[in-house]
Amino acid sequence: MGVNGKLATALVLSAALISLYIVGPGMLGRSSDWSIYIVPVVIGTFAAMTTLTDLIFSRRRDRPPRPEITWPKEAARTWGNYAVLILRAARANGDISSRSHFERAPGTVAETIVRWLPGKASQQVFGQIIADMREEYIEAVASGNRRRQRIVWMRGHLHLVLAFVPYVCSVAIKRALEIWKLVP
């Protein structure tokens, strides 16, 4: 049964129970005995809860499948100074659709910042950390493991920060010592 069918069933059932709840006592004669309400209320609550739960989860199931990222290596390119991953989307049944989307390679912003650093630090340390992050990210993308992708992204940026802080401190200390030596 589809979502619409379930919704219609829930509406009909709810309407019937509400009618029974409102009209029933009148048909049966006014009664102060509240126990006659118990059965429709319990059934109605149970039906409403199960229907709502089913509706919520059915709706989640019936959502269009999120595109899985596959085959990144076939189309990844470096455009200008930026690495861009062109990722293809897969349908739920595993077929590769013709739809593709662009994704900025991880570390693009960091790469832009790192370019401002001196050549040795930029090329030998920070650039290599970004390259490592991209290599592992592409491996994670190829395996379709989104959790791994996030971990690689976070770990790569953490390594960049952990390498950047001591670098800035060491440069600052060196400059301070140079200035100190110049002072007569």
């Binding site: 930026y82 690495a83 290599e135 390594h159």
Partner: protein, 103 residues
């Protein structure tokens, strides 16, 4: 090995050993080959220090991997590094006879 040859740390000795066994390699490949002994965050700083000591030589790869977009820096053992590595092996052999190990 010359008397004033640089004395490598345990990590540097491990990198030397990996570079001798694997040949020319880059940082991440060394980290993966080390089974957790080397860390991603410190490998390049250590390699830079080893290069300053003259234990390793590096050059930028000619063909950049189009998927990564940043040229890799490849490291290999220098002649001095090879002699230091051999000295470590020889030293370890001597120490092992006494039930000890260096690096």
């Amino acid at each position: 090995v010359e008397p004033n040859a640089p004395f490598p740390s345990a990590i540097e000795a491990k990198i030397l050993r990996l570079l001798v066994s694997k040949g020319e390699s880059y940082g991440l490949a060394l980290v993966k080959a080390s089974d957790g002994a080397l860390k991603r965050g410190t490998i390049y700083v250590t390699l830079g220090r080893m290069e300053e000591k003259g234990l390793v030589e590096s050059h930028q790869e000619e063909n950049t991997d189009q998927y990564i977009g940043i040229p890799r820096r490849l490291y290999k053992v220098s002649a001095l590094g090879l002699r230091v590595h051999d000295a470590i092996i020889a030293g370890n052999l001597v120490l092992q006879r006494g039930g000890l190990a260096w690096a």
